[in-house]
């Protein structure tokens, strides 16, 4: 018996250690930099059974459309089965792939952010898509059970149709190759309390800002920060929101302080990071910029959601604490006051909301702008910039050549003009392709309402053209899509100057780009908190140094 127990114990202990013994199996194949290897594709489209796994993080409720596209694709290529599974969240998804790489357990393709792909590329696990994009091979579909029997499919992809910034983002990796393509994209727009602006028409016009009789600002030309400051003079009441004078306690909320730091750095041409993973924030322009932001904080021109202990400012925008709010296009509807809100909280009632581009410092790229920092004027060269973000899709190189080929075809199918438009409309993301904006593919939004992306965009245009005085019936479905349509239009107007956040994995000297973004957010929050506590005597460089310490070692 003693022996038996001993044996068991040994087994138990062995188990406890089992985890430690297999570390050596991680085979690392050194990444030989393959120079433009031209891909040799099969003569015929492979007709073997192919199983493709696609990993994402969408919940069951969001995968319906994806399932539909998969079904369509499988009908086109009956020998292909696509299994898409959710891996619960982005961190888990990334970790599973990172670990899976060492044991050859990666999906055929996966959703991911650029910094995820940067990590996979380091492990030499992702497929370089250039070989497919530039491939001229064409296949005729000879399988009679295919839904596209007799048609010809091309392998190559016309990149000209994509938003430039998305292309740059997906080819920012070493060698400038494409390792992923854009899928679910969003940007930031600014929500505006039209009722409040309307109450100050003359003053606003006197400040040289274009505004319609009903209080709508321009939807093509972004406000400049100079104009923001002017609006603050007119609208902000530092004593709190005052409904009789139509003034708000704060002018502008910025939901994502991380985005704000990064985007404003671009607008000021202040170095931030680069794809090599260098942290460049320790420079005079960034310091001036933070000083300027501090001034905006000081006179309530700018606020962060932490002002109300919130993660997003949309609620306080609805409540009237702040009259403008920059937030993600995906969160549009959180800004609209409705019957569902506790009405006493809505200080301006159910006011009209409009969406405009995020503020810029200059009207055109390369212009100079002058800001007053601590009473002295300084001049900088500005850029136009709006944040673009959202996951992309890549294919893993461990798959068989047939799997890779079909995975590529599937990826291409997902980002076809019409599918992109459908995906965008269903999810609230933005189309990755320019042609999607004029797509006429019918999209069933409800059982009884079907539209296409072009018509969808038209909803907001009609509304704006009528200066808000449309004669739609209250039951008109267009009301349901008005605000999504607005931000889609604004996003379109911004897409020429989208900027992406350079992606890099954590390295020997510094943290990864995801951490950098988080720390950038903390930096601004620290300045906000510090300024609230000690006014102008707070030195924003303290926060900058903290950030630098967190990111470099």
């Amino acid at each position: 018996m003693k022996k038996f127990v001993l044996l068991l114990v040994t087994f138990v202990i062995a188990l406890a250690f089992a985890g430690c013994v297999n570390v050596g199996t991680t085979a690392s194949t050194t990444a030989g930099t393959q120079e433009t290897t031209t891909l040799q594709l099969a003569e015929e489209l492979p007709d073997e059974e192919v199983e493709i796994t696609f990993w994402h993080i969408y919940g069951t409720d969001k995968t319906a459309l994806l399932d539909q596209m998969i079904a369509e694709f499988e009908a086109m290529y009956p020998n292909v089965t696509i299994t898409d599974t959710s891996q619960t969240d982005y961190n888990t998804l990334r970790e599973k792939i990172n670990m899976g790489i060492s044991v050859d357990q990666v999906p055929t393709m996966a959703l991911g952010y650029p910094d995820h792909f940067a990590g996979y590329i380091e492990a030499d696990a992702v497929l370089k898509l250039d070989d497919y994009i530039n491939n001229t091979t064409e296949y005729e579909i000879t399988n009679s059970s295919s839904s596209i029997f007799g048609e010809t499919v091309t392998i190559g992809l016309d990149l000209d149709d994509f938003v430039a910034s998305y292309l740059e983002e997906n080819s920012q990796y070493e060698g400038g190759y494409y390792y992923s393509l854009p899928f679910s994209k969003s940007t930031e727009t600014m929500a505006v309390n039209v009722d409040v602006l309307k109450a100050h028409l003359t003053e606003i016009r006197a400040a040289g800002i274009t505004i319609s009789d009903n209080g709508f600002l321009s939807h093509d030309v972004p406000l400049t920060y100079a104009q923001i400051e002017a609006l603050a003079d007119i609208i902000v009441d530092t004593n709190g929101t005052n409904t009789t004078t139509s003034k708000c306690e704060y002018l502008l909320n910025y939901d994502s302080s991380g985005n704000m730091f990064i985007n404003m750095s671009r607008q000021w041409n202040a170095p931030y990071t680069n794809t090599d993973g260098e942290i460049l924030i320790d420079n005079d322009t960034t310091k001036s910029m933070l000083q300027y932001v501090q001034d905006l904080f000081l006179n309530n021109t700018l606020a962060l959601p932490i002002a109300w202990d919130q993660s997003y400012g949309s609620t306080n925008f609805k409540y009237g604490d702040v009259c403008m709010s920059v937030g993600s296009t995906a969160g549009v509807n959180y800004n609209i006051p409705t019957d569902a809100d506790t009405q006493e909280n809505l200080q301006f009632g159910q006011f009209q909301v409009d969406f405009v581009p995020v503020p810029q410092f200059v009207a055109t790229e390369g212009d100079s702008f002058t800001v007053s920092i601590d009473g002295t004027d300084s001049t900088f060269t500005g850029s136009l910039s709006a944040v673009q973000q959202g996951p992309n899709i890549g294919i893993f190189s461990s798959a068989s050549s047939a799997e890779k080929l079909y995975a590529w075809l599937f990826l291409k199918y997902l980002i076809e003009t019409d599918n992109t438009a459908k995906w965008a409309m269903n999810t609230g993301y933005l189309p990755a392709r320019l042609s999607s904006y004029s797509s006429e593919a019918a999209i069933d939004l409800t059982a009884s309402y079907s539209t296409n992306y072009a018509d969808f965009l038209q909803i907001a245009k009609d509304f704006w053209d009528a200066d808000g005085e449309v004669t739609w019936a209250t039951t008109d479905v267009r009301w349901n899509y008005l605000y999504s349509s607005m931000v889609a239009n604004i996003a379109q107007s911004q897409n020429t100057y989208y900027q992406y956040d350079p992606a890099f994995a954590a390295g020997t000297n510094s943290a990864g780009s995801a951490t950098a973004r988080v720390e950038a957010g903390y930096c601004l929050e620290n300045i906000y908190i510090g300024t609230l506590a000690s006014g102008s005597s707070y030195n924003p460089n303290t926060a900058l140094n903290t950030m630098l310490n967190q990111l470099t070692w």
Partner: protein, 309 residues
């Protein structure tokens, strides 16, 4: 004399009263502190998004304002497409998995813990102390490191194949690496060591084998500790998140914890707290029922002394 006695008794009673008020006051505060999160969870689960965001927060909801759909929506099914008929939030699947995983992990843990603790407390073998020291040292290794090594092990055992993983393999992958806990071994060993040698000798004289002694004497005596371990371990398994997500390839193999976190976020990353809390409430209810069912057993153990002597 009698007067003084009465005086004293009065003073005594007054002191008793004050001490009671203080004690029960304190306990009530603690109890409220514990109950508030539960109340808040249930309250939130009955609010609409707007009510949740409301500032100042809404502390009480009339029955007519309850948003029951937070609960009913959990049981909605996908209307069309490939997954038609599947629940949006596969509550029962998650629940079944969670119960199974918690049960198996706890069962495994308790078996290995008891055997290992017994060996370290009772048996004599070469290198016992060294081995125990090594085991204890592993407690200092951060858990994250084991994720990688365990992941590789699971893969070697063939339980993590993203194309072919079966339910059994997923269950094995989720449970086996957590069927041993050095801390629990240590904890139980301490309890076992408090059991006097004489009991072992007595049992020997009374004709038991080592194993029977463990079963009939040590385990019953150490029951409070074992119950504690069972509770702690099941709670840990119940709320495990990272590992189950890491080693399962399909949603239907996962646990409530995974479902709770992922399912209710929209495209902006914002969470529908109402629904999430409704689901959380449904998950918590079984735990509460379990606690009240086994309240006596759980409470008892703690005060039981070892042996008189």
């Amino acid at each position: 004399m009698a007067e003084i006695f009465v005086e004293n008794e009065k003073a005594y009673k007054r002191r008793r009263l004050i001490s009671n008020i203080v004690t029960f006051g304190f306990l009530s505060l603690v109890a409220i502190g514990i109950l508030i999160p539960f109340y808040w969870m249930i309250l939130t689960s009955l609010k609409s998004i707007q009510e949740i965001e409301s500032v100042p927060p809404i502390l009480w909801l009339n029955f007519s304002d309850w948003k029951i759909t937070n609960y009913t929506d959990l049981f909605l099914t996908v209307q069309s497409g490939e997954r038609a008929g599947e629940p949006l939030f596969p509550f029962f699947t998650y629940m079944k998995n969670t119960v199974l995983i918690s049960f198996l992990t706890t069962l495994g843990t308790i078996i290995t813990t008891i055997l290992a603790a017994f060996a370290f407390a009772r048996l004599n073998f070469k290198g016992k102390d060294t081995l125990f020291a090594v085991l204890l040292a592993t407690m200092m290794v951060p858990g994250e490191i084991f994720i990688l090594t365990n992941f590789l092990t699971i893969n070697q055992f063939g339980w993590y194949d993203i194309l072919t993983q079966t339910y059994t393999e997923a269950v094995l992958a989720m449970t086996i690496p957590f069927m041993i806990s050095v801390f629990y071994v240590f904890y139980l060993r301490q309890t076992f060591r408090k059991i006097p040698d004489e009991l072992y000798f007595a049992a020997k004289v009374d004709g038991t084998s080592d194993f029977k002694y463990l079963l009939k004497i040590m385990i019953p005596i150490a029951m409070p500790t074992i119950v504690t371990i069972i509770i702690l371990n099941s709670m840990g398994a119940w709320s495990a998140y990272i590992w189950p997500a890491m080693v399962t390839t399909q949603d239907k193999y996962r646990l409530v914890s995974n479902g709770l976190r992922g399912a209710f976020t929209d495209t902006t990353g914002r969470t529908d707290y109402g629904q999430q809390m409704a689901a959380a409430t449904l998950v918590t209810v079984p735990l509460i029922i379990l606690f009240f069912t086994f309240r006596k057993q759980i409470m008892r153990g703690v005060g039981r002394s070892g042996i008189k002597g």
